[in-house]
Symmetry: C2
Subunit: 313 residues, 2 copies
């Protein structure tokens, strides 16, 4: 660990000399007394470890405009639109970074606040691109369980990862995502460990959630939280997306019955008194995004240009 830290230290230094001071890797090698290849490795280590954060500080007119129009059209309280990379297959590229900036902005405020987080690949990517922040005044609460169907702690539980970067007090939720029965759900929620967390979630000042699609590759299904027949039933009932497990139809109304009564996640915090920001982009999630903002499940959105355009058309 100490050696590793020393290495990261060197990597940070190399990255600094490279990106900030504008040295070539040869110069860095000379200054740090290592071979050019090692310098290159240090720089690339700095990048891959996420030590190097790049942001483009220019309001690309087209994106700004799309954001404004989305705010107007759907009555959103917050909307960020990032450029689309036409070739990329990533479902988080750009959105994650933009969301991280928003989160960082809140966490840097000195007034104590409660932030609730959902789960999923997008949130995971967001948290990974957060810088280190010291903010013990804030509390971060997970909206959803961190127990995978196989009993292990789910990879996508983001509050744990967040704790690596941020010193806020964190409240994970030691629950499955979807209980086996409504009764089990009730029992779990009644636990002494859980109730304070649920109450905290209900009082969140700001919430960031991903939106899951419910197509054939629904993350909820892929990750084993629901079975194929349950997915099919949801689809048949008109479900087009889900937020922390709560499936909803094209009007943004939660599906009655099926898996929803067993969802062990906290309810989505109130849009009336807090900011609930959805992070999502891409063709597959479009029906879900559209439903969530039309139905008022969320009042904030971070998405990309292409998705924004389609939403407006």
């Amino acid at each position: 660990m100490a050696a590793n830290d020393g290495r990261l230290d060197e990597a940070a230094r190399a990255g600094w000399l490279y990106y900030v001071a504008g040295n070539t890797q040869d110069q860095i090698a000379a200054k740090l007394g290592v071979s050019r290849q090692s310098a290159q490795r240090l720089v690339s280590l700095a990048v891959s470890e996420g030590l190097v954060k790049v942001r483009i500080d220019h309001p690309i007119a087209a994106c700004l405009d799309l954001g404004r129009r989305l705010v107007e059209r759907f009555g959103l309280a917050l909307c960020e639109v990032v450029p689309t990379d036409p070739g990329s297959t990533s479902t988080t590229l750009g959105v994650a970074q933009a969301a991280a900036v928003e989160i960082e902005k809140r966490l840097r405020r000195p007034e104590p606040a409660i932030m609730a987080l959902g789960t999923g690949r997008t949130l995971k990517a967001v948290v990974e691109s957060l810088p280190r922040i010291d903010c013990p005044q804030h509390r971060v609460v997970s909206l959803t369980g961190n127990i995978a169907p196989d009993g292990s702690a789910a990879y996508y539980n983001v509050v744990f990862t967040l704790a690596d970067h941020v010193t806020a007090r964190s409240f994970p939720m030691p629950l499955p995502v979807i209980a086996t029965s409504p009764e089990e759900r009730a029992m779990l929620h009644a636990q002494a460990m859980i109730r304070p967390t649920l109450e905290l979630a209900a009082r969140a000042d700001i919430t960031f959630v991903g939106i899951g699609d419910l197509g054939p590759e629904a993350p909820l299904f892929l990750d084993g939280f629901i079975r194929r027949d349950e997915l099919a039933a949801l689809q048949a009932a008109g479900a087009v997306g889900e937020i922390v497990g709560w499936a909803f139809d094209r009007d943004g109304a939660l599906i009655e019955g099926l898996t929803n009564p067993r969802v062990a996640s906290a309810p989505i915090p109130s849009r009336a008194r807090s900011l609930v920001v959805a992070l999502a982009k891409g063709e597959r999630k479009l029906p879900g995004i559209r439903a969530a903002i039309r139905g008022g499940l969320v009042n904030g959105l971070v998405t990309d240009e292409a998705t924004a355009r389609t939403l407006l058309s």
Copy 2:
């Protein structure tokens, strides 16, 4: 302007695709429909226009440690130490970026605050590396005049430059830096336009100033604010540095007489009730830095590793 903006827009997009999305310039060229060379030009334009901000998000242990020791040793309220690039001749590299981060942090706070700024090459570089921030709740006031000896607006008046990036209310000071006589100074300060600004400066919550050396290449002399004989007189009187024109000796005590009675800048705000941060690094400025912190002219410092080490030795 419109065309230029469109170009910057493209540049920002290219920069985004390059740095955030990780495309090669070939790919960017294809996606933007331009030649590879043009894509390269767009990316480099984005960099040179300062659209691309890189920060290294790792507390380099050595720097942290130096900062802590400086805080302890000199009773500072804030100290940031950045790595040194052994080969670079820049007097602002690193320090400017670190200071920009500190300033940004303050400006992002929602509670209204008053920030005072000095002048000089360092401050200029700081302001240029600030991102765009919308913060009309804050007020930014210049401590010093913006009229050069030849009557033009001085290049290094940073509050104007700041206004390009930040929407805070700004209060420049339409004064020379050093008046021709103490009487002129008094008269200038009595002006109705000036007095509110001076009062604002006195109430600043946080102040950032550069430290000028008074060696043979003193910026005050190079920029024509003082004559060679005045510089010599200051040196003879034991002056080792200046802050917004106020020359001080090695104990950090303001020089009596000479140019000081004619300095038209606002007094350095109170260290007792606010934070006054000096931004400076480099051999030449060392005597000035040492004097300023030992004499309590400032209670914060942003500097580089090499300077920090020397200060501690």
